[in-house]
Symmetry: C2
Subunit: 427 residues, 2 copies
């Protein structure tokens, strides 16, 4: 457990933050000019923290400070400041394995629960770009490198059991953030919970059906058990398109404060779920029919490539850099051994794909029936039109979760997504 130091903690609003940064040459120098001339803007549109953009004569930085409660809800929902520590730890690990794909960390203050990072400009939150129908040609390449490397190099395929256990222990204290996921993703959308909301009245019947659907409840419970019980690798833990900043030529993954050792499929599933939602929300953003067809085709192609490129890179790392305690090389020697291990690698990836399909479904359902929604749907102004997009997503997600094994390939997922796009719910 991280020791909290409430005595040293204070919330840094604009004036205090300016003073704080001015006193640190490693930040004041790159900002440049007089501290009084710096512009400081609070931009936190997330649910948890304060985020400031600070710009000086020479450059800019992003300052993220954890609050002792959930920002979205207020002081009635306390949340440990230690999440800033875990974000810092995760950023450091990710920078080691996926350099250039996470923001550079410039400063960390544990007592203030504060991290200062490079300012990403002109990057846009990917979710906003997808809503606008923008394609990102670098995305597949970058996100699959990020996932393949951060997951592989923190797994038992790459590290010793001792190092792995140390890693698991180092993140074990981040359980308050895990608990948010456990409740909001794996439990609440399937039961009556005060914080749930959905597009009423159109989704009332579906929400009620999901609360009664025992096949679904068994499936989500198995996924929750895996989330609780499978420290396969250091996962980002919140890898949706709002945690990814993009330009045409770059991709940067931010906000790993939910990081812990968990199931790999949770990260991969998050990316795929958010692309599927971008795809199924797209119809809601059309001004004239079919105007986003090329974009939508790109999104589905991206879904396919995210899995296939992730799998290709992960397997390549396993074949060449397996220094961990799992699948010891000495048990698979010679030509026959190498061939058999390769068959087992494919079987391992098939199991991981099943996890990915299930977690992906869980990430979709929570965004439509749970507390935290996403603007892919929320920005569709006509609620009935929004509800149709959401209903299609729920229909797809339900079958992915309950019948994950009927999706042996990513092609089966995109095929089902295409069918869901054409489905017209009862009015």
């Amino acid at each position: 457990m991280k020791t909290e130091r409430p005595d040293q903690y204070r919330i840094l609003h604009e004036a205090a933050l300016r003073e704080y940064l001015a006193a640190l040459p490693e930040l004041a120098t790159p900002l440049g000019g007089e501290p009084t001339s710096w512009t400081i803007t609070e931009v936190g549109d997330g649910n948890l923290n304060l985020v400031f953009i600070v710009k000086g004569a020479r450059g800019g930085v992003a300052v993220k400070q954890a609050l002792p409660y959930v920002r979205l809800v207020g002081e009635s929902w306390p949340l440990p400041l230690s999440r800033a520590h875990y974000e810092y730890l995760a950023l450091a690990k990710q920078a080691q394995f996926a350099p250039g794909l996470v923001p550079a960390l410039l400063h960390h203050n544990a007592a203030l629960a504060l991290n200062v990072m490079e300012l990403l400009e002109p990057h846009l939150i990917m979710r906003k770009g997808l809503i606008a129908g923008i394609q990102y040609p670098r995305f597949v390449q970058d996100i699959t490198t990020f996932m393949a490397r951060t997951l592989f190099f923190t797994s038992d395929l790459a590290v010793s059991a001792a190092a792995k256990k140390e890693g698991v222990a180092a993140f074990a204290g981040n359980h308050a953030l895990c608990k948010i996921t456990e409740d909001l993703i794996f439990t609440d959308p399937y039961r009556v919970a005060e914080q749930n909301r959905w597009t009423q009245p159109w989704l009332d019947a579906t929400a009620a059906a999901f609360r009664e659907d025992l096949d679904l409840h068994v499936a989500i419970s198995r996924l929750k058990l895996k989330f609780l019980n499978a420290p396969e690798a250091l996962i980002h833990g919140d890898l949706h398109t709002g945690s990814i900043m993009v330009t045409d030529g770059a991709t940067v993954v931010i906000d790993p404060e939910f990081a812990f050792y968990g199931p790999m499929g949770f990260d991969i599933g998050a990316v795929i779920a958010n692309l599927l939602m971008a795809y199924l929300a797209s119809a809601g953003h059309e001004r004239i029919p079919a105007e986003r067809q090329v974009f939508e085709a790109w999104v589905l192609e991206t879904v396919e490539n995210v899995w296939s490129e992730f799998a290709r890179k992960f397997l390549a790392l396993w074949r060449t850099q397996a220094g961990g305690d799992a699948y010891p090389r000495t048990l698979f020697e010679g030509e026959a051994g190498a061939a058999r291990l390769e068959v087992e690698r494919q079987a391992y990836m098939a199991r991981l794909f099943q996890d990915t399909v299930g977690f992906s479904a869980a990430k979709i359902i929570r965004r439509i029936l749970g507390l935290a929604h996403n603007i892919d749907f929320e920005l569709i102004e006509d609620p009935k039109r929004r509800a149709i997009c959401e209903a299609r997503s729920l229909k797809l997600a339900r079958v992915m979760m309950v019948e994950a094994s009927s999706f042996p390939t990513i092609g089966a997922v995109t095929k089902a997504a295409r069918e869901a796009r054409d489905w017209q719910p009862d009015p």
Copy 2:
């Protein structure tokens, strides 16, 4: 990681131990009489530690001190003293959930890596009793209570995710002991390793075949991955019949220094494996044919009852004391929900049984082809006769590991054991 304090550590041989105990009223008083009159006998027949039996006028204690190396091998194989700390932690947890089924802990000294426990008299190491053909009528009842309660109450079915993660972290530093298991059980028996030994020349061909058997290598690698990756509950980690002390009317589980959060099936499999070995070694201890038939029937009945009683008790706890974050009750409300959860409980137990079958096989193979053998076989003086018993055990274990799913019930396991008992290997 536990901090080692080599500056305060010293090995307590007889004189120093006498002085140490005499200075502690909580031990000197129950021992009774003059310290000079106490008898102190070193009895450690395990592979790792010093164990002293101390007897005074009034009573006795058992003193266990970790050495900074593996006792069996010597200083060339260092091993952290912290294992005494983990044994102490595990004993405390086990005493909480299975009172009376572990020795009472009287004193713990972290710096000296020393634990003092009640002296168990007239208990016998169960393995020795089984070799002598003794039946233990209390065993099933006690060991299944021990396993059901220690596993259930440290699992996600009983505790919050936060408490579970704290538990996992508290034992994460015990990785050196886990590493022994990872190497000696999950790796070495399947490859050329200097420390491997087997009954030569009769098992030469089988040992060679196991080193080439890629189906087996995949199966053991998947079990190893589960051992590395599945903190389902606080497991004893070394639950063989040499870690169990028995009388006709009592059972006490000792030596939990390998404890960590791992797969439940590893503990259950250890008990079943050691009973299966007792069964298949029994023929080697016959003086006249069939003289141990009643005992052998009892052993197989015990195998069946260990699983079925464990499952019954574990399920009963789940039905009545499920306070953990897994399988939330609110997702299974009403009559239909209760019925569906019950079906899922049975499915959970079926998955756990598959793990148990596989781990059981792994525990058998390591005792015949690996470093640490057991006296069930070792005390069969005629090496050819011993090899026949071992070959039968290996034949059974191989099919249990590679085709675990062909053993849907514990009855299928005992049936295969009976067939193995009748199998005559090629001379």
